[in-house]
Subunit: 123 residues, 2 copies
DNA sequence: TAAACATATGAACAATCATTCATATGAACA
DNA sequence: TGTTCATATGAATGATTGTTCATATGTTTA
């Protein structure tokens, strides 16, 4: 328990109110910070309405950058920047056909995650 | 199709490369912007490592604010601010017992969403 | 090879947000 | 009622990030 307050910034309540057993149990079971950081990074990608709209558009059909820009009524540059973010998160894949690049979703988990999110919203 | 480029900022490619049928189909099937905005707002709440750690801690056990602060090794104030965000998103609920306030998760969808996120990370 | 065009990217700016510090609130108990 | 203590909150600040504008890349076709 000593390492819980490393830097002597001990809260008043830490000696009175902390439930030692619970804190210890939770500390031992919670996933590593590194993993939780990655989870937050993934959700950060989902946490922008432009990217959400791109993903939902790609649920319907593979599309080129121009088509996505037309659907969202935004500039090609803005879409391209966001597709790069989605690509880096391995959420979309692409194929080139001449001058055109077609994007599609890369991960089967995305649909499940979004369905659950829709259900939470609707409650 | 006229309403797709409302403001005469027609991209060059919009007359050459836009695939009209696909754009029209996707436009008609994609959920309303209002809903997609709400979805993004929900994911924005998940998109912070402190909040992710709080949520994962609460997967293990109901806890008071002090306990959560001890588990995450952060100040009571920082935790309290984040719990307010989670409360506003209806992701946590609380019960008061004397001076202590116990928080727990409010929504069954959260676990499913996080499980899928873990699976995406692990791939 | 040169022009045309779909896409990508770098820099800059505005807006959003997590934490800190100080302080307020509200319940328990003397 | 007054003190103690767990929790909540307002203001300020530093950091992150989405979009725009200008330009670069790379493929096609004349």
């Amino acid at each position: 328990m000593a390492e819980i307050n490393k830097e002597n910034t001990v809260e008043k309540c830490s000696e009175e109110c902390v439930h030692g057993e619970i804190v210890e149990k939770v500390c031992s079971r919670i996933p590593d910070d590194e993993i939780l950081y990655d989870v937050a990074e993934l959700f950060k990608v989902f946490g922008d309405s432009t990217r959400v709209r791109i993903i939902c558009a790609l649920f319907e059909s593979e599309m080129c950058v121009c088509d996505i820009a037309a659907v969202l009524n935004m500039t090609q540059s803005a879409i391209s920047h966001q597709l790069r973010v989605l690509k880096q998160a391995r959420l979309v894949k692409y194929r080139r056909e001449g001058k055109t690049v077609y994007y599609s979703l890369a991960d089967k988990h995305i649909q499940t995650i979004f369905n659950q999110a829709f259900e939470h919203i609707m409650e």
